[in-house]
Symmetry: C2
Amino acid sequence: MQSYTEENYLKVIYHLSEISHPVQTNAIADRIQTKAASVTDMIKKLSEKELVHYVKYQGVTLTEKGKLTAINIVRKHRLWEVFLVDKLNFKWDEVHEVAEELEHIQSNLLIERLDEFLDYPKVDPHGDPIPDKNGNFAEMTFVKLSKLKNGDKGNITGVSEHSSPFLKHLEKLGLTLGKRVEVIDVVEFDGSVELLLEQEKLNISREVAKHILITKN
Amino acid sequence: MQSYTEENYLKVIYHLSEISHPVQTNAIADRIQTKAASVTDMIKKLSEKELVHYVKYQGVTLTEKGKLTAINIVRKHRLWEVFLVDKLNFKWDEVHEVAEELEHIQSNLLIERLDEFLDYPKVDPHGDPIPDKNGNFAEMTFVKLSKLKNGDKGNITGVSEHSSPFLKHLEKLGLTLGKRVEVIDVVEFDGSVELLLEQEKLNISREVAKHILITKN
DNA sequence: TTCTTAATTTAGACAAATCTAAAAATAATT
DNA sequence: AATTATTTTTAGATTTGTCTAAATTAAGAA
Ligand SMILES: [Mn+2]
Ligand SMILES: [Mn+2]
Ligand SMILES: [Mn+2]
Ligand SMILES: [Mn+2]
């Protein structure tokens, strides 16, 4: 059994592992809003417990045990987010903070029943895949909207930025999960994207386009 | 904002206040599974924050602020218990431990939405009243089954013991919330109670009868 | 390769919550 | 009222997670 804090470290290391191997001390410190010295202390503790593999001055990688623990926290986080949106009518920009707390509730029965109650959802409100109880993900294949060419079509199936301002912005533009879009033009000058959304023309900045994930078809 | 631990102390002091005024150090220590010395330390801290009124060697009472905080935790605890039973099919003896964790989740929006989702329940799975968001309880008027006389009739509307073995025992006997019972005889020898439950005769020990709460009618 | 900068770790301290053992205050008995 | 027993508080230590400041290592530039 891990503490609330240890769980947060494992989850952050898990997410950062998708970007760099091994995960560096400062990267963790930034994410967790703490100082590098604190991270080093915690890393040593996680290493003692064989949840991470640690090489001094190099960084950490999750052990199999650590990875499974982290994935389970991600599973809980995402299931709770689905619950908040589907059952309690939260907006997709309101769920993350609460899920950060709920993900630490310790009860396997609770999470299995919640999964069942939600009818075994495969993705969370931001399009992120929900691992099953064994830690297996359904493979997702999306591409950044900013990578699409003129004439490319597809559906919005995810976002790579979860901040409330960004999500609210998308909501206002009507760019929500499941919506079908077609790229009309990529403006050469600033990289902004002209697109067609339900018969309406729309222009979004390159910065926004980068964080919208599309499944082409 | 109070810590997880402070919240637990406030809740325990609140419950113990129904028994004794002021609440003594050892009573708290017993409930919270800690030592008297630790309780004294925490009491001082809560006193600093003006959540309790503390007189050395006498004990503590909740201030208005402390009482409201405690009631809010009780509200959350009981709403979560309703959720677990009504929506996730937990048994009434399985909810308490999980609710002990869920009650500390910090989000007013969450708890108001949960209340709405559950259709504003007035009592929890053990018959305990759920305070509204202002801390007001619906007045409950029940009497211990052990206090009933021959011929008295009423409905089971609560239990004063929440342990899993006790609740499972009641479940097995069919003595669940809402059931109508009639006292046929109170056995003089051991105080056990003969009662009628759905045309069936049933004998329960005095110890069990003490913890079943009845609304007479 | 040597110097400089950046990243990381160590050393020592601190706040929160707990504990044990000892001291002090209150309550109960003789 | 004096003695004994119980309850409560203090003193000092411990664990977890954090911090600042200083020392160390690694990486980058000249
Ligand atoms: Mn999230
Ligand atoms: Mn999400
Ligand atoms: Mn309970
Ligand atoms: Mn209850």
